[in-house]
Each structure stands twice: as structure tokens, then as C-alpha cells.
Symmetry: C2
Subunit: 297 residues, 2 copies
Amino acid sequence: MKKIKDLQTLIDSNVLPKRLALAVSQDAHSLEAVNKAFLAGLIDPVLVGSKVETLKIAQELNLDFSGATFIDEIYPSKAVETAVKLVNEKKADFLMKGNIPTPALLKAVLNKEWGLRTGNLLSHFALFETENYHKLIAVTDVAMNIAPNLKDKIGIINNAVTFMYKLGIYLPKVAIIAAIETVNENMQATLDAAMLSIMNKRGQINDCVIDGPLAFDNAISVESASHKKIKSEVAGDADLLIMPNIEAGNVLYKSLVWFAKAKVASVILGASSPIVLTSRSDSEECKFDSILLATRG
Amino acid sequence: MKKIKDLQTLIDSNVLPKRLALAVSQDAHSLEAVNKAFLAGLIDPVLVGSKVETLKIAQELNLDFSGATFIDEIYPSKAVETAVKLVNEKKADFLMKGNIPTPALLKAVLNKEWGLRTGNLLSHFALFETENYHKLIAVTDVAMNIAPNLKDKIGIINNAVTFMYKLGIYLPKVAIIAAIETVNENMQATLDAAMLSIMNKRGQINDCVIDGPLAFDNAISVESASHKKIKSEVAGDADLLIMPNIEAGNVLYKSLVWFAKAKVASVILGASSPIVLTSRSDSEECKFDSILLATRG
């Protein structure tokens, strides 16, 4: 796939629309994208929050939600709980963050009684479309795990690989990113990369081809990899980049969006279904594409 | 300044050409850029290495070095030592890496008897030109210091700020980059950023305006900073980005060059004069621009 919009071609009309539970729905920033996905037939929204306020915002933005389900919960904390429980009880397919801080949403997701835990680590997964690469490229984790250790990185890889199969990206090529392509005992990122590569060869991490350490340019450019005489199935053709820490991930995400003018869709993985957790500063298109991405989960 | 080429307008014809000592000059990858800078009147090259091999490469590449100085040293280790000593003894103005591994060059630079030590930390300084920013933007450290601590970061900032004055960038706006713009006790990058900001306010780090923590987008976009309600002289208008670790720096460097098609020039700072240390995979233009940048030191 070359474009995020191509995900729509994967859609099986028998399984759509998916039921989206919007947690704390009185939220101009998400309602517009939710409405667009609703009108496109991708989702059946369940708007959980203050019905009066939600309808007021919808009217101001000229959004038609007739046919959508409203669950009136004026208290945000109660609305989040209700939305999460809808997914837990299979009355909704996936969750989207509305007008509530991220920590409050994640706390509800991780609730032991009625949350969406699976035993897996939660991780952030971003899918980029850029003119200067020959296919879509996924990057993880740029927003959830601060300084993942080896075990965390295995969880992050497994979350991403499992989800990529649902996107039709089979046996993804996974590049473990570091600042250099050699193993350096003073750089933990390169040590973890070597370990992950061998764990993949030994069948401890499956359904993907892992290579690392690779510097960013080695991972995405055949020319750069050949300059360094790197022989690798992954180099120059990576489907998925595993970032060594949240700073490197976040800077890559932001530089692709702001300086390389890339398009991006993202979800949180590791719960029972993908969670859409866009931020205020994301574009309308990014929010819509993130909903589209989550419908594949 | 908007373009790296604009550095040429700063040139004082009284101080040029600068004398460049190329360490181990039998090197196709640097000779071409050195020749271009020579013909442009920027430098007076002193080619230290095997004269026979250097002339052979020059002939193959059709480069005219008549008027350049040759110092015939067939042993690479001796050639590096000679080139470094030329700068130490003020017989050359700055050093450029030729056909020798970086660690061998740096070892010579750090030699206590005849090296180029100043007591300052060595750090890498990169200057980017990109269509999607309103001026040149400097980034440090993307290649030398792996996991700089607070003291190292002060050294990195001082190296960069001192050099930026020589580029005509006075009172540079310095953004300390982290994954988020708030102080989080679990994220060392945000703690260091807060400390560096206050050290600047208290006059412990001078000749610049520091603010942080800032995420990459807050640093380079007024729009993004205002979404986050950040009030800052630096946000959206940074001249210099201080990266939290080498992985984040390296990924930013590579993504700007490969995906955002930015132009870049870079030097090593902290020695008695800038050192040009380009890599095989850098473009010819990058190598020339790095020499241009070093002539300002």
C-alpha cells in the first residue's frame, strides 16, 4: 500500500460499519472526524457524554448525527466508564477519546474489572504516508512507552506485527532503529537491536523479519544501506521502525508531519481493540484516517 | 539567513582563503569537495597523505590542484598527526577528515601534546536548510555524544552558541527538545530541559535565550505551540535545537535529509577550530557546504 486511503479498499462490507464508542462526546475536535467517518459508512457512532452539549456542538459545526446512538452521561468520569464498558461487553467495537485527558481514558481502559486489558503492553502505533518512500511505513512507539526495555520492545513489536496483518501487511520487515548500524556496548539501543534480531532468527519473535541495529537512513534507503555495505532483507525496505526511546520516536513523528509533510494515522494497541486517541493539534484528516485505521482492528 | 549558501555573503575577503589541512588526502570522497572549495577561493588546501595516490585520484576525477600544498606522508597514522600538528601550530586554520576512520582522527585531535584540545567537550553541530522553516535551523548533538548529562548539555550549548555568533546568528533562540512540553519526573530529558532553562535565566548559560522542555513541533511551529498554549520567546522560532540523546538527534538528522529533502552542513566543535568530518554517504553539496561552514570558525 502506498496511501492510507488504500485501507478503505480492504473493507469487507459485511463487517462495517464498526461501532465506535466516543468517550465524552461533547468534543468539537473529535466530532467532526467521527461525523465524516459516519457519513462514509465506516462507523456507527455511540456518543457517550452530555447529549445536550454534544448536540449543541454538532449543530454549531453543522454535523448531522441522525441515526447515531446517544448515551446521556453528564459526568465525564461516568461517561468514560460507560464507553469502556460498551467495548468490554462487545456492545461497541472500539473506543475513541473525546473531551477527556489521556491519563483518565487510559486509567479506565486499564481497569481490572471492566477495562480492556489483554495482558499485553499498551503501545502507540503510527502509520505514515510520505512521498519519499515507496510504501506506507509504520513507526512505534512514539508516544506511550518512555524508555522501553527489551521485554517492552518485544511487546511493542508483537502489538504492531499482529495489527499489520490486519492491514494486509504480511511478514512485515522490522527495522530496530539506533544511531548507528553496528553494535556498540555503550549504546543500549544497539544491544537491544542485536538481541531482538537473533530472537527473531531463533523463532522467539515471529511473523516478521527483524534486522537491527540500523540507522534511520539504512532502514529506508537501499542507497544508504549499500554505502555502509549492509546486507539485509530489511534495510531500504522496512515496513515497521522500532524506535529506541520516546524522544527519538516523537521527534521522528513530528519531523515527518511538519517538515516532510507526511500524512499519519495512529492508534493505541494492546487493549482488546485499537483505541483512537488523537490530539487537539492533529489535522481533521489525521483524525479521520486514525478512525479508518482502527476499523481494521 | 534562509540558505546555507548565504554564509558566503558573510565572507570577509581579508580572511580568506582559509588553510584547510586534509588528513590522509588520498580520498575521492573528500577531494572533490575540497577542490570545489579551492576553486571558489574559500580555502587553500594542504593535502597531507600519499602524494602519488592523491594525484592519481585527482587525475581520475579531473581535479586541478595546481597551487595547492602537498605534504607527502605515505603512512595514514603519520599523515593524521602531521595534519593535526599543522593546525596546532597555526600553519593551517582547520582540519578535514580524509581517508581515515573517525576514531583515529579524533584520537589525534585529543592528543595532549600536539592535539587541538581546548578543555571543551567535542560536539557535533549541524545546520539545516529546509523549505518548511523560515530560517536556517541548527541541531546538536546528533553524532558525537551518546547520552549527554546536564554538564555535557551545557558544553554542547556553549559550543553551538559561540559558533552561531560567528555565523552572524546573535542571541540564538535555543529549544531543549523532549517528547513533551511539560516536566515529567520519569523523563530525564524534561528535567534537564527545565534546569537548562532556569540556568539561562539566572545567567549561568549566556548569549542565548533557552526554553524547554519543548516537543519538536512546539519548537518549530507557532501554530503547534499555540495549540498547547505555550508562551515562549523560543517556541515556533527556534534557531538551535538541543537533542536529548544521540538516537533522537540521529533520527532527526536522517529524516530531514531523506524525507524532508533538507540541505545540511556540519562540523565538529569544541576543538581549537571546527573540524570537517563528513561521511561517505553525504552528498557532494553537503561536503562543500560543511567546508564553507568551517571557514566561519
